[in-house]
Amino acid sequence: MNWTCEQTEARLSDYLDGLLQPVEQSAFNRHVNTCEKCAPLVAGVARALGGLYALEPVEVPAELEDAILTATLGAPSWRNLRRWLKGLQSPRFVYSMASVAATLVIILTASGFSLRKPKLADLAPATIFSKTNSKAHRFYAQSVKFVSDLRVVYEIQTRLSENEQNPGTREQPAPQNSPDKQPGRTDNTNPSAPKQQNRADEIGRSLRILAAQFPVLSGSSGERRMP
């Protein structure tokens, strides 16, 4: 295979990059070894490539990054503000702020602070304490009353079911100091709650009337229909 000087120059990069076919490679080598013009050319280009590869990356000026940020995002103060505002969008911050807001609302509501008519005096520690104390006591009293009502209702239901199962013992008084007394069941041993006993008797009477008028509501309606 013949090889010319023009071919050497045209395919020099292919030779240096190792892209020549074996046949071309050997023809290239034969020509360069015998050509006075091409031999220094190949050596010179190889030397130039070596010099290019030996070039170290240039160190970037320290102020370049800051200059780029200033050119794109603005002055450092604005950049800091943007970064700070961007930080506010993080989920962690949003959740934290939501929980703090919820806690504040709960505390203010408990202290009686009116969001519709806010007053500065309502935020005084003494006012917050007295209102919170009052609300807590009120809440405690309501809770006690609710539990008491539940006990009364439970007692009525128990007495009604006992009466329906044992009609003969309906008017029998409860045993004094019975050891198997149900919790919350009133008896005559507790003279400190006469109002509660009266209220229970009234509700019990009303329920009995209702049960008589509407037997369907009663659990033993099926038995009553029996002849």
Binding site: R47, A48, L52, V58, I68, A71
Partner: protein
């Protein structure tokens, strides 16, 4: 951003041979990228390739604007004068940092014609593939190969004229 700024600054420095100009050009590249980020499409190549295209366009614009590069466009008869200019344009610490051969190669690079210079820089300094260079320069692959080949040969001739002999 640090990685990209380093790469862009190096391309600019190898093209212009001047740190101050390279810094200004790098800043302009990022500014243009920031403003035209909406026009970037991943289908047209990687982000780094797109950034390199922006850099190349700015470098060509810069070359056309400056008169000095027009003077250095001629490769044969301005060599000693241009070398003095290069030496005068650098700070002493820069000159000290450059090795003898590295300095000569950098000087020879800046004397290449811009189209050959950019091809050699992208291939032999930035190690880009032919297909990537084709995208950056927006020319056929055959033209890319031809420019790289001619650029290397031209660089060797310039180095020889500067007194750098093959070892």
């Amino acid at each position: 951003m640090r990685r990209h700024s380093r790469r862009i600054f190096n391309i600019c420095y190898r093209f212009t041979g001047n740190r101050t100009e390279s810094q200004d050009l790098s800043q302009d590249v990022f500014l243009r990228v920031y403003r035209t980020l909406g026009s970037y499409r991943s289908a047209h190549g990687g982000f780094a390739t797109w950034m390199t295209s922006v850099t190349r366009n700015l470098l060509i614009d810069h070359y056309r604007r400056t008169k000095r590069d027009r003077v250095t466009d001629s490769l044969d008869d301005k060599m000693p004068v241009v070398e003095n200019k290069e030496s005068a344009g650098r700070r002493p610490d820069e000159q000290a940092l450059l090795g003898e051969l590295s300095g000569q190669v950098q000087s020879a690079l800046t004397r290449l014609s811009p189209e050959l210079r950019e091809a050699v820089i992208l291939r032999d300094l930035q190690q880009l593939e032919y297909s990537e260079i084709q995208q950056v320069l927006a020319v056929p692959e055959g033209t890319v190969k031809s420019r790289i080949n001619r650029g290397r040969i031209e660089l060797a001739r310039i180095l020889q004229q500067m007194g750098v002999r093959p070892s």
